[in-house]
Symmetry: C2
Subunit: 198 residues, 2 copies
């Protein structure tokens, strides 16, 4: 093994963490190496445990240590109300805002001709199946206010027509072109409260 | 185990990494959870391997997977020239600058009456022992240009007087009040080249 191998290898993996550059990764490694028992082994164990336990929820697509996920299993949630999100980051953002009392459905993306994402890449058929099987009464489209997100909302609305379910979307408070998961919690809660027919 | 426990635990440990806030930790966790095999298990293994292997060098105090460290074992280094640094971060910064061909000695801090750091907390006796045992001819004091760093340089210079070794310090290019490990490599190299008697 070369001289500084384990340290250099650690720095190089740390620098791949989104938000940490090479310089920050080096400092983080050094700080952790000064107290390996407290700073390194617990993180190693947490990474392993999460990698082993966490999987997508078979029902909604959320990431959780159990499937169906904690939200889908929660008897206090309104099962007639399903909020459709692009991805898990947006689901977590809405949860942090305590803005939604129903269930979720993770679409797994938005339609994007440029990125080659078509309807078959999104979790739309499973959504239709859930609506039919679970007595869903309202679907809230909480998609990003981008061109692709808006086009996706229109497309999903069309696909949901035969299901005879109310389809609403986030309205007030979502800035144009903005991603959901960077919004403050009040903005998210307001947008959800003032949702309107799609 | 509670609903989102492994994920929340991971986020909370990631948010303790210097440079990552809570929001960045959450995003990093989510991105890693989407590809656990590629992003999480290798990092877990690297953390464990580094925590197990890395220790302070018994000779100079550098952190390395072997002791004596790779620098102390390197036959191409000039063993008559020892550069004294406050900590390992500064040693690594000088190594990145390829500015020093000799060995190092990590002092483990600087004198600080406010922080309660006295001479007995610094690795000065081991430095004197090294000078006596290893035929050191010059000690370069590469300490921070702060009040505490300058006082420490004076103190170490006094302690080294009986050893009859040349004592120099970094001069040109180190800005007042600046930490060494944030300086660019050219500045570090210039400061080392233009070192002068302490
Ligand atoms: Zn679920
Ligand atoms: Zn060493």
């Amino acid at each position: 093994m070369a001289d500084r191998d384990p340290i250099e290898h650690l720095i190089s993996l740390l620098s791949r963490i989104p938000g940490l550059g090479r310089r920050s990764a080096r400092r983080a490694a050094l700080r952790m190496l000064m107290r390996p028992q407290e700073a390194m082994l617990p993180l190693a164990q947490a990474l392993e445990a999460a990698a082993r336990a966490v999987r997508p929820c078979e029902s909604c697509g959320n990431l959780d240590a159990q499937s169906p996920c904690g939200i889908c299993r929660d008897p206090r949630r309104d099962r007639h109300l399903v909020c459709v999100v692009e991805g898990v980051a947006d689901l977590w953002a809405l949860e942090r805002a305590h803005a939604h009392q129903g269930l979720y459905h993770v679409l797994g993306g938005v339609l994007s001709p440029l990125a080659g994402v078509g309807p078959e890449d999104l979790s739309i058929s499973p959504l239709l199946a859930r609506i039919a099987a679970e007595g869903v009464e309202e679907v809230i489209l909480a998609l990003p206010a981008t061109v692709d997100g808006t086009a996706t909302a229109h497309y999903v609305t069309d696909r949901l027509k035969p299901a005879e379910v109310a389809v609403t979307r986030l309205a007030q408070g979502v800035p144009m072109g903005g991603a959901l998961d960077v919004l403050d919690e009040g903005t998210l809660a307001a947008a959800l409260r003032s949702r309107r027919p799609a």
